[in-house]
Amino acid sequence: MSGAAGSTAIKRRAAAPQAFVLIFAMLMPVAGIVSLAPNLPQFLTHFAGIPHHEFLVPMILTIPALCNALCSPFAGLLADRVGRRRMLVTALLLPSRSLAHGSHAERIGAQTRLIEAAPADAQRYLDRAAVHLDRADWAAAIADLDRAAEFDPDLATRHYLRGVLLWKRGSSDEAERVLNRFLAAEPESSAGFALRARARADLGRPLEAAQDFSRAIAYQPVAGPDLYLERAQILSEAGDRYLERALRGLEDGIAEIGPLPALALAAVEIEVRIGRFKDAAQRLDAATRSFAVRAPWLIRMGEILEAAGRPVAAREAYQSGIDEIALLPAHRRQLPGLAALRLRALERIARIEGR
């Protein structure tokens, strides 16, 4: 083929090194695609919940190969126009930019560089807004959220982030409004409902807040105790007529997670407010049986018995608590929490005895 390529062919002939480079370079995109293949089963498992995933997931192999085939002529044209070396070097450098982590300024700088590389990508403004939010730089965060909205008005996450920002800043009414928009787009977001619940609680609308907490719990795969406790607290603060509902919510939590002391002790306090002292005492005893230090609970039992109109039994419980504290080592007795409890029990006994 010597010289058959015409006048543009240079005189130097290719040899083994050039052949190796050529074949190696041509194999790289092939290897890039092939290396995805062993991960296919894992991708299939990961996206199992997505409709048509059996068809869509293998496309990660097919589409790059198709792109390779379809784009090659255009890459050739581009190479002819700008030069092969320039195109290859540019292509190599483009993906090498990484997001460094460092101080706040460094993080902002890194995000800013990403934005400069793709100034119309709304997600990148959201990412930078999250960094500003982390440092409570409200004005900068709002500016980035606004920019994100310009480029993608439908991006629901921006409403959530704005909700976080507004709620943290104390503007619960505005937070609620943007969270309404977020939840309209993401109607099963547990985090969204939990945040709106807190905003509504701040606005003095406990029933709606409790309803949001219930949704937040319902949309959680694994519920933790915090949302159950916050819901119960809001309902019990809403008035006595909601105490039964608060209690049922805590029992749901106990059934779901297990007999956590935090849930059980919250239930005890609600039983006391309802006036079911016997039930409260039973719950307290069950919840604290495993505690090595029983004094705080013995004293609380005394308070429940006193409220139930049983001063003799109450005095006995107070005294048991005091005696147990006396048996503790000196450094434990002097812990402020336990010392205050002992003092409280002594005052109650004095009151019962009319001193």
Binding site: A14, V34, L66, R107, A136, G224
Partner: protein, 502 residues
């Protein structure tokens, strides 16, 4: 284009349009067809034996159980074999359901015992079965014996760049050099272990691929950092952070059941550990909130000789974050709300990350405001450096949790990088912008801590010393009779590790 295939060796180096006239076009076309055909066939060929994607790691240890986890590329059954020696893995625990996230609890173990193990399927061992794969069950709560803890913070830079990766590995290697054969029993992660946003692949690259030789032996206890929050959510307990770890949430390892992996506690020997979620998104940090109330219950029930609390955001720092900056809300909130609580219930050591530096306080108490409020040492219980070879150890009057006897606060946030302009916070005894990690040794009534940098130098050392336990009278049954033995000062210290292995 002629259409004939030209021998590769004969292809001239061409420029511009001549390229299209050469035979290379035919060759390229042939390769493209080959690629498409190979791609079409590959999914069918991809199924085979599972391959480890995350090496085995150990979590949620108790005196009688441990959770072994690992990840494979394809779903398979989960089998752990274990026994007293690597050659006698005679016990098997199996989870039949195919999964890629393997999580096997081994129960019915003896306390304070070493077991060798392997992980894999019923027909294939993927890792272990050798002298390098073993775990040690916890001693019963209250047991006084040497305990070693490794502490790293903000270690996830390996997911971002090669420099961070090199530094993280150097920190790990010098830790291994420091401890020699006496590996840590426990490993505390202070958050930000997967940069920049805690995705699954960042956890693999930034954490699991960096420490395989540590996590196969040492029980792992994480706390959530702000970068993990990029992909995980504490409200829903979902995302890569929660999917990767198993924490003791029901009091199974001691402490009061929290019911959530966002915050939890456990006992190991005579030390009580508490992990708190300071990362704010979703967790209510208010006084009287669920986490605060749980912490108070947990501290009230705690009667360990030492108490160590760890969370991500430092209450005192002048590194890449500034605890005097009102915009650093989490730092303020934790200092103002949680520090009074932990000090009133006698916490000895508080560990954090977040600032990419090492900062370690003197023994302090009651400092909940700006740094200027302790500018002249008003909050110092002991303003010395705590180094037994220098100013002397911090002496505390009580063995156990006693209120307001002083707490040491340490920021260990440089386990894969350092950054920011570090200055001295007035409470700090040592401050250093250099990569490293901390080793804590607890032995009876003495706690020793060392900061080992990425060059292997011990940059800081301090000791908290408490009174020795009251002599315990033990009825000692011996062949042919019985006798009384006293555990005294000398015997309590006999098994102490050397203060510095290097």
């Amino acid at each position: 284009m002629s259409g004939r295939i030209v021998p590769v060796m004969a292809i001239p180096i061409v420029k511009g349009p001549a390229f299209r006239q050469s035979g290379i076009g035919s060759l390229h076309l042939l390769l493209q067809v080959g690629v498409l055909a190979a791609v079409a066939l590959l999914p069918a060929l991809a199924i085979g034996d599972p391959v480890l994607e995350r090496s085995p790691y150990l979590m949620a240890g108790t005196p009688n159980s441990v959770v072994v986890r690992w990840r494979t590329d394809i779903a398979s059954e989960s089998v752990v074999r274990y026994g007293a020696t690597p050659q006698s893995l005679t016990n098997t625990v199996m989870e039949a359901g195919p999964t890629t996230e393997h999580e096997v609890e081994i129960a019915g173990l003896s306390p304070n015992a070493t077991y060798f193990y392997s992980v894999g399927t019923s027909t294939l061992a993927l890792a272990g079965g050798d002298a390098d794969h073993f775990f040690k069950t916890s001693p019963p709560a209250g047991t006084r014996q040497p305990i070693r803890i490794w502490v790293i913070g903000d270690s996830g830079q390996c997911a971002v760049d090669s420099t961070g990766c090199s530094d993280a590995n150097a920190v790990k290697n010098w830790y291994l050099d420091f401890v020699g054969q006496n590996l840590a029993d426990l490993w505390l992660l202070l958050g930000d272990n997967a940069y920049p946003s805690g995705t699954d692949i960042q956890f693999t690259d930034g954490f699991f691929n960096v420490y395989p030789e540590v996590m196969r032996n040492t029980m792992l206890y994480p706390t959530l950092g702000n970068h993990e929050l990029g992909s995980s959510n504490s409200v829903t307990q979902t995302g890569p952070y929660y999917a990767s770890y198993t924490m003791p949430t029901m009091g199974e390892a001691g402490g009061v059941a929290s019911g959530t992996e966002a915050y939890y506690s456990f006992d190991y020997g005579n030390v009580h550990f508490i992990s708190i979620d300071s990362a704010t998104q979703g967790i209510n940090l208010s006084v009287g909130g669920p986490m605060y109330n749980w912490l108070e219950l947990d501290l009230m029930a705690n009667d360990s000789d030492f108490t160590i609390v760890y969370w991500h955001h430092p209450p005192y720092t002048k590194g890449s974050h500034d605890s005097d900056n009102p915009n650093e809300e989490s730092l303020f909130e934790m200092r103002e709300r949680f520090n009074p609580l932990i000090e009133s219930w006698g916490v000895d050591l508080q560990l954090t990350g977040h600032s990419h530096s090492y900062e370690r306080s003197v023994l302090i108490d009651g400092h909940y405001g700006l740094s200027s409020e302790c500018g002249a040492g008003e909050c110092f219980v002991d303003g010395g450096d705590g180094d037994p070879n220098s100013d002397g150890a911090y002496q505390k009057a009580t063995l156990g949790a006693a209120a307001h006897e002083g707490t040491v606060y340490a920021v260990v946030g440089s386990s894969s990088k350092n950054s920011g302009a570090l200055t001295q916070h007035p409470v700090m005894s040592h401050w250093l912008n250099y990569e490293g990690s901390m080793v804590v040794d607890v032995d009876g009534s003495v706690l020793d801590a060392y900061f080992i940098d990425k060059d292997g130098d011990v940059e800081d050392q301090f000791r908290i010393e408490k009174p020795l336990p009251e002599p315990v009278v033990i009825l000692q049954l011996v062949a042919g009779g019985a006798g009384l033995a006293f555990l005294d000062k000398r015997r309590m210290r006999k098994n102490r590790r050397p203060s510095c292995a290097r």
